[in-house]
Protein backbone atom coordinates (compact mmCIF):
# COMPACT_ATOMS: atom_id res chain seq x y z
CA UNK A 1 0.00 0.00 0.00
CA UNK A 2 2.85 2.40 0.89
CA UNK A 3 4.52 1.65 -2.46
CA UNK A 4 1.38 2.74 -4.25
CA UNK A 5 1.25 5.93 -2.21
CA UNK A 6 4.87 6.69 -3.12
CA UNK A 7 4.05 6.16 -6.77
CA UNK A 8 1.06 8.49 -6.63
CA UNK A 9 3.16 11.08 -4.86
CA UNK A 10 5.84 10.78 -7.54
CA UNK A 11 3.22 11.30 -10.24
CA UNK A 12 2.22 14.59 -8.59
CA UNK A 13 5.81 15.75 -9.10
CA UNK A 14 5.82 15.16 -12.86
CA UNK A 15 3.80 18.25 -13.86
CA UNK A 16 5.81 20.27 -11.36
CA UNK A 17 9.06 19.27 -13.03
CA UNK A 18 7.70 19.79 -16.54
CA UNK A 19 6.55 23.25 -15.56
CA UNK A 20 10.12 24.14 -14.66
CA UNK A 21 11.55 23.41 -18.14
CA UNK A 22 12.81 26.57 -19.89
CA UNK A 23 10.14 28.06 -22.13
CA UNK A 24 11.49 29.10 -25.52
CA UNK A 25 10.01 32.03 -27.45
CA UNK A 26 9.79 29.93 -30.62
CA UNK A 27 6.33 30.37 -32.15
CA UNK A 28 4.36 27.46 -33.60
CA UNK A 29 4.47 28.98 -37.09
CA UNK A 30 8.27 28.96 -37.06
CA UNK A 31 8.66 25.30 -36.15
CA UNK A 32 9.88 23.27 -39.13
CA UNK A 33 7.99 20.20 -40.30
CA UNK A 34 11.16 18.09 -40.32
CA UNK A 35 11.96 17.29 -36.65
CA UNK A 36 15.65 16.72 -37.35
CA UNK A 37 16.04 20.11 -39.01
CA UNK A 38 14.05 21.73 -36.23
CA UNK A 39 16.32 20.13 -33.62
CA UNK A 40 19.37 21.41 -35.51
CA UNK A 41 17.80 24.86 -35.73
CA UNK A 42 17.39 24.85 -31.95
CA UNK A 43 21.01 23.88 -31.48
CA UNK A 44 22.22 26.68 -33.75
CA UNK A 45 19.86 29.21 -32.19
CA UNK A 46 21.14 28.46 -28.71
CA UNK A 47 24.53 29.82 -29.77
CA UNK A 48 23.19 33.08 -31.20
CA UNK A 49 22.75 36.15 -29.06
CA UNK A 50 19.69 38.32 -29.47
CA UNK A 51 21.23 41.73 -30.13
CA UNK A 52 18.21 43.52 -28.70
CA UNK A 53 17.95 41.66 -25.39
CA UNK A 54 21.60 40.91 -25.24
CA UNK A 55 21.80 38.27 -22.56
CA UNK A 56 19.27 35.96 -24.20
CA UNK A 57 19.69 33.61 -27.11
CA UNK A 58 17.43 34.17 -30.11
CA UNK A 59 15.43 31.13 -28.96
CA UNK A 60 14.59 32.78 -25.64
CA UNK A 61 14.06 36.34 -26.78
CA UNK A 62 10.68 37.72 -27.80
CA UNK A 63 12.22 40.54 -29.84
CA UNK A 64 11.24 40.92 -33.49
CA UNK A 65 14.86 40.65 -34.61
CA UNK A 66 15.17 37.35 -32.72
CA UNK A 67 12.19 35.99 -34.62
CA UNK A 68 13.66 37.14 -37.93
CA UNK A 69 16.96 35.45 -37.13
CA UNK A 70 15.23 32.23 -36.03
CA UNK A 71 13.39 32.09 -39.33
CA UNK A 72 16.61 32.89 -41.21
CA UNK A 73 18.50 30.08 -39.46
CA UNK A 74 15.75 27.63 -40.41
CA UNK A 75 15.85 28.82 -44.02
CA UNK A 76 19.61 28.33 -44.20
CA UNK A 77 19.31 24.81 -42.78
CA UNK A 78 16.56 23.98 -45.23
CA UNK A 79 18.77 25.31 -48.05
CA UNK A 80 21.31 22.66 -47.07
CA UNK A 81 23.73 24.60 -44.85
CA UNK A 82 25.48 22.70 -42.08
CA UNK A 83 25.07 23.98 -38.51
CA UNK A 84 28.44 25.69 -38.70
CA UNK A 85 27.64 27.29 -42.08
CA UNK A 86 24.30 28.63 -40.82
CA UNK A 87 26.02 30.06 -37.76
CA UNK A 88 28.73 31.62 -39.91
CA UNK A 89 26.06 33.20 -42.14
CA UNK A 90 24.83 35.22 -39.17
CA UNK A 91 28.32 35.95 -37.83
CA UNK A 92 29.36 37.33 -41.24
CA UNK A 93 26.63 39.97 -40.90
CA UNK A 94 26.79 40.81 -37.21
CA UNK A 95 30.31 39.95 -36.08
CA UNK A 96 31.61 37.78 -33.25
CA UNK A 97 29.44 39.46 -30.62
CA UNK A 98 26.38 37.65 -31.96
CA UNK A 99 27.87 34.39 -30.66
CA UNK A 100 26.98 33.70 -27.04
CA UNK A 101 30.23 31.72 -26.69
CA UNK A 102 33.12 34.03 -27.60
CA UNK A 103 35.36 32.35 -30.18
CA UNK A 104 38.87 31.36 -29.18
CA UNK A 105 41.04 33.77 -31.18
CA UNK A 106 44.01 35.97 -30.43
CA UNK A 107 41.75 38.83 -29.40
CA UNK A 108 40.00 36.62 -26.82
CA UNK A 109 42.99 34.69 -25.41
CA UNK A 110 42.97 36.98 -22.34
CA UNK A 111 39.26 36.31 -21.84
CA UNK A 112 39.53 32.51 -22.04
CA UNK A 113 42.91 31.95 -20.41
CA UNK A 114 42.81 34.81 -17.89
CA UNK A 115 40.74 33.19 -15.14
CA UNK A 116 42.73 29.96 -15.30
CA UNK A 117 45.99 31.85 -15.11
CA UNK A 118 44.78 33.94 -12.18
CA UNK A 119 43.63 30.84 -10.32
CA UNK A 120 46.97 29.19 -10.99
CA UNK A 121 48.90 32.25 -9.82
CA UNK A 122 46.74 32.38 -6.70
CA UNK A 123 47.45 28.72 -5.99
CA UNK A 124 51.19 29.29 -6.31
CA UNK A 125 50.93 32.28 -3.96
CA UNK A 126 49.12 30.20 -1.35
CA UNK A 127 51.68 27.38 -1.59
CA UNK A 128 54.58 29.80 -1.24
CA UNK A 129 52.91 31.47 1.74
CA UNK A 130 52.56 28.18 3.63
CA UNK A 131 56.07 27.12 2.72
CA UNK A 132 57.48 30.41 4.12
CA UNK A 133 55.53 29.99 7.32
CA UNK A 134 57.06 26.57 7.86
CA UNK A 135 60.64 27.87 7.48
CA UNK A 136 59.90 30.73 9.90
CA UNK A 137 58.70 28.27 12.50
CA UNK A 138 62.14 26.58 12.89
CA UNK A 139 63.98 27.07 16.14
CA UNK A 140 65.80 30.40 16.47
CA UNK A 141 69.60 30.61 16.41
CA UNK A 142 71.19 29.69 19.76
CA UNK A 143 72.28 32.53 22.03
CA UNK A 144 75.84 33.85 21.70
CA UNK A 145 78.06 34.11 24.80
CA UNK A 146 77.47 37.87 25.11
CA UNK A 147 73.69 37.42 24.90
CA UNK A 148 73.84 34.66 27.52
CA UNK A 149 75.68 36.98 29.92
CA UNK A 150 73.08 39.76 29.36
CA UNK A 151 70.28 37.25 30.01
CA UNK A 152 71.92 36.09 33.28
CA UNK A 153 72.28 39.70 34.47
CA UNK A 154 68.62 40.42 33.75
CA UNK A 155 67.45 37.31 35.54
CA UNK A 156 69.59 38.16 38.59
CA UNK A 157 67.95 41.58 38.72
CA UNK A 158 64.46 40.13 38.58
CA UNK A 159 65.02 37.60 41.36
CA UNK A 160 63.36 38.81 44.57
Amino acid sequence: MSKLRSLVFALYLVPLVLHCLPAAAVQPDEVLADPQLEARARVVSKDLRCLVCQNQSIDDSKAALARDLRILVRERLQAGDSNAAALQFIVARYGDYVLLDPPFKISTYALWLGPGLFAFAGLIAVLLFFRNRRTLATTPAPLSAEEKRQLDDLLKQDAP
Partner: protein
Protein backbone atom coordinates in the same frame (compact mmCIF):
# COMPACT_ATOMS: atom_id res chain seq x y z
CA UNK B 1 63.09 42.98 -4.21
CA UNK B 2 61.83 41.61 -0.91
CA UNK B 3 58.70 43.76 -1.22
CA UNK B 4 57.86 42.33 -4.67
CA UNK B 5 55.37 39.65 -3.50
CA UNK B 6 53.44 42.38 -1.71
CA UNK B 7 53.50 44.92 -4.55
CA UNK B 8 52.58 42.47 -7.29
CA UNK B 9 48.90 41.89 -6.40
CA UNK B 10 48.51 45.65 -6.01
CA UNK B 11 50.03 46.23 -9.44
CA UNK B 12 47.82 43.57 -11.05
CA UNK B 13 44.79 45.14 -9.38
CA UNK B 14 45.76 48.57 -10.69
CA UNK B 15 46.01 47.20 -14.24
CA UNK B 16 42.59 45.56 -13.92
CA UNK B 17 41.09 48.78 -12.57
CA UNK B 18 42.47 50.53 -15.63
CA UNK B 19 40.77 48.08 -17.99
CA UNK B 20 37.47 48.24 -16.10
CA UNK B 21 37.52 52.03 -15.98
CA UNK B 22 37.85 52.19 -19.75
CA UNK B 23 35.27 49.44 -20.19
CA UNK B 24 32.69 51.25 -18.08
CA UNK B 25 32.74 54.20 -20.44
CA UNK B 26 31.69 51.98 -23.34
CA UNK B 27 28.06 51.23 -24.19
CA UNK B 28 27.59 47.47 -24.67
CA UNK B 29 24.54 48.06 -26.85
CA UNK B 30 26.73 49.67 -29.53
CA UNK B 31 27.98 46.72 -31.51
CA UNK B 32 30.68 47.46 -34.10
CA UNK B 33 29.78 46.57 -37.65
CA UNK B 34 31.19 43.38 -39.13
CA UNK B 35 30.90 44.88 -42.62
CA UNK B 36 33.39 47.74 -42.45
CA UNK B 37 35.50 47.92 -45.63
CA UNK B 38 33.38 45.23 -47.27
CA UNK B 39 31.35 45.87 -50.38
CA UNK B 40 27.70 46.70 -49.94
CA UNK B 41 25.61 43.48 -49.77
CA UNK B 42 23.87 42.42 -52.97
CA UNK B 43 20.27 43.51 -52.86
CA UNK B 44 17.42 45.13 -54.77
CA UNK B 45 14.54 46.83 -53.03
CA UNK B 46 11.40 48.29 -54.54
CA UNK B 47 10.27 51.83 -53.83
CA UNK B 48 7.71 52.52 -51.13
CA UNK B 49 4.26 52.04 -52.62
CA UNK B 50 2.78 55.27 -53.87
CA UNK B 51 5.82 57.46 -53.43
CA UNK B 52 7.75 59.34 -56.11
CA UNK B 53 11.24 58.28 -54.89
CA UNK B 54 12.60 55.21 -56.63
CA UNK B 55 13.80 52.03 -55.00
CA UNK B 56 17.34 51.09 -54.00
CA UNK B 57 19.83 48.48 -55.18
CA UNK B 58 23.51 47.63 -54.68
CA UNK B 59 24.38 49.05 -58.10
CA UNK B 60 23.33 52.54 -56.96
CA UNK B 61 26.43 52.88 -54.81
CA UNK B 62 29.14 52.95 -57.44
CA UNK B 63 30.76 56.21 -58.44
CA UNK B 64 29.90 58.48 -55.52
CA UNK B 65 30.01 58.70 -51.76
CA UNK B 66 26.64 57.79 -50.24
CA UNK B 67 24.95 57.69 -46.88
CA UNK B 68 22.31 55.09 -46.07
CA UNK B 69 19.90 56.03 -43.31
CA UNK B 70 17.88 53.15 -41.89
CA UNK B 71 14.59 54.56 -40.64
CA UNK B 72 10.97 53.67 -39.87
CA UNK B 73 7.84 55.62 -39.10
CA UNK B 74 7.38 53.70 -35.83
CA UNK B 75 10.83 54.73 -34.60
CA UNK B 76 10.85 57.79 -32.36
CA UNK B 77 14.60 58.56 -32.48
CA UNK B 78 14.30 58.56 -36.29
CA UNK B 79 11.93 61.49 -36.00
CA UNK B 80 14.41 63.25 -33.73
CA UNK B 81 17.33 62.82 -36.14
CA UNK B 82 15.27 63.65 -39.25
CA UNK B 83 16.20 67.39 -39.39
CA UNK B 84 19.88 66.43 -39.31
CA UNK B 85 19.41 63.95 -42.15
CA UNK B 86 17.72 66.74 -44.08
CA UNK B 87 20.63 69.01 -43.27
CA UNK B 88 23.13 66.42 -44.48
CA UNK B 89 21.20 65.92 -47.70
CA UNK B 90 21.01 69.69 -48.27
CA UNK B 91 24.80 69.98 -47.99
CA UNK B 92 25.04 67.87 -51.15
CA UNK B 93 28.38 66.33 -50.16
CA UNK B 94 26.99 62.81 -50.44
CA UNK B 95 23.89 61.12 -51.85
CA UNK B 96 21.56 60.29 -48.98
CA UNK B 97 19.57 57.10 -49.44
CA UNK B 98 16.91 55.73 -47.14
CA UNK B 99 16.24 52.16 -46.05
CA UNK B 100 12.68 51.96 -44.82
CA UNK B 101 12.85 49.12 -42.29
CA UNK B 102 9.76 46.98 -41.58
CA UNK B 103 7.29 49.73 -42.29
CA UNK B 104 3.80 49.66 -43.80
CA UNK B 105 3.69 51.82 -46.96
CA UNK B 106 0.80 53.94 -45.73
CA UNK B 107 2.67 54.77 -42.49
CA UNK B 108 5.92 55.52 -44.31
CA UNK B 109 4.15 57.77 -46.82
CA UNK B 110 2.43 59.68 -44.06
CA UNK B 111 5.66 60.09 -42.08
CA UNK B 112 7.60 61.37 -45.08
CA UNK B 113 4.91 63.75 -46.28
CA UNK B 114 4.60 65.17 -42.77
CA UNK B 115 8.32 65.56 -42.05
CA UNK B 116 9.75 65.92 -45.52
CA UNK B 117 11.62 63.48 -47.78
CA UNK B 118 15.37 64.17 -47.93
CA UNK B 119 16.25 60.88 -49.64
CA UNK B 120 17.43 60.54 -53.24
CA UNK B 121 15.95 57.05 -53.24
CA UNK B 122 14.34 54.81 -50.62
CA UNK B 123 14.40 51.03 -50.47
CA UNK B 124 11.29 49.54 -48.87
CA UNK B 125 12.54 46.65 -46.73
CA UNK B 126 9.19 45.31 -45.53
CA UNK B 127 10.53 42.01 -44.23
CA UNK B 128 13.75 43.36 -42.74
CA UNK B 129 15.85 40.81 -44.65
CA UNK B 130 17.98 43.37 -46.44
CA UNK B 131 18.50 45.03 -43.07
CA UNK B 132 19.86 41.74 -41.75
CA UNK B 133 22.29 41.59 -44.68
CA UNK B 134 23.52 45.05 -43.66
CA UNK B 135 23.85 43.96 -40.03
CA UNK B 136 21.01 46.19 -38.86
CA UNK B 137 19.83 45.30 -35.36
CA UNK B 138 17.91 48.41 -34.45
CA UNK B 139 16.62 51.66 -35.84
CA UNK B 140 17.96 54.23 -36.62
CA UNK B 141 21.33 53.33 -38.05
CA UNK B 142 23.37 55.27 -40.59
CA UNK B 143 26.02 53.91 -42.95
CA UNK B 144 28.65 55.77 -44.96
CA UNK B 145 29.56 54.08 -48.27
CA UNK B 146 32.52 55.15 -50.41
CA UNK B 147 32.62 55.62 -54.18
CA UNK B 148 33.72 52.01 -54.71
CA UNK B 149 30.62 50.75 -52.97
CA UNK B 150 32.39 49.73 -49.75
CA UNK B 151 30.85 50.34 -46.35
CA UNK B 152 33.26 52.56 -44.44
CA UNK B 153 31.39 53.52 -41.29
CA UNK B 154 28.28 52.62 -39.34
CA UNK B 155 26.61 54.80 -36.75
CA UNK B 156 24.19 53.11 -34.38
CA UNK B 157 21.45 55.26 -32.92
CA UNK B 158 20.17 58.68 -33.95
CA UNK B 159 22.56 61.03 -35.67
CA UNK B 160 23.32 63.99 -33.43
CA UNK B 161 24.87 67.31 -34.34
CA UNK B 162 28.08 66.19 -32.68
CA UNK B 163 28.18 62.96 -34.71
CA UNK B 164 27.42 64.88 -37.88
CA UNK B 165 30.09 67.51 -37.38
CA UNK B 166 32.80 65.37 -35.79
CA UNK B 167 32.43 62.05 -37.58
CA UNK B 168 30.15 61.89 -40.62
CA UNK B 169 30.96 65.14 -42.43
CA UNK B 170 34.77 64.81 -42.07
CA UNK B 171 34.58 61.19 -43.22
CA UNK B 172 32.44 62.03 -46.25
CA UNK B 173 34.78 64.86 -47.18
CA UNK B 174 37.86 62.64 -46.87
CA UNK B 175 36.22 59.92 -48.99
CA UNK B 176 35.30 62.47 -51.66
CA UNK B 177 38.89 63.54 -52.32
Amino acid sequence: MKRLPYLLPGAVFAVLVGYFAVGLTKDPRLIPSALIDQPVPTFTLPAIDGIASKGLAAADFKGKVSVVNVFASWCLPCRVEHPLIERLAAMKIATVYGLNYKDAPVDARQWLSKLGNPYAAIGADRSGRVGIDWGVYGVPETFVVDADGRIRHKHVGPVTLKVLDNTLIPLIKSLSK
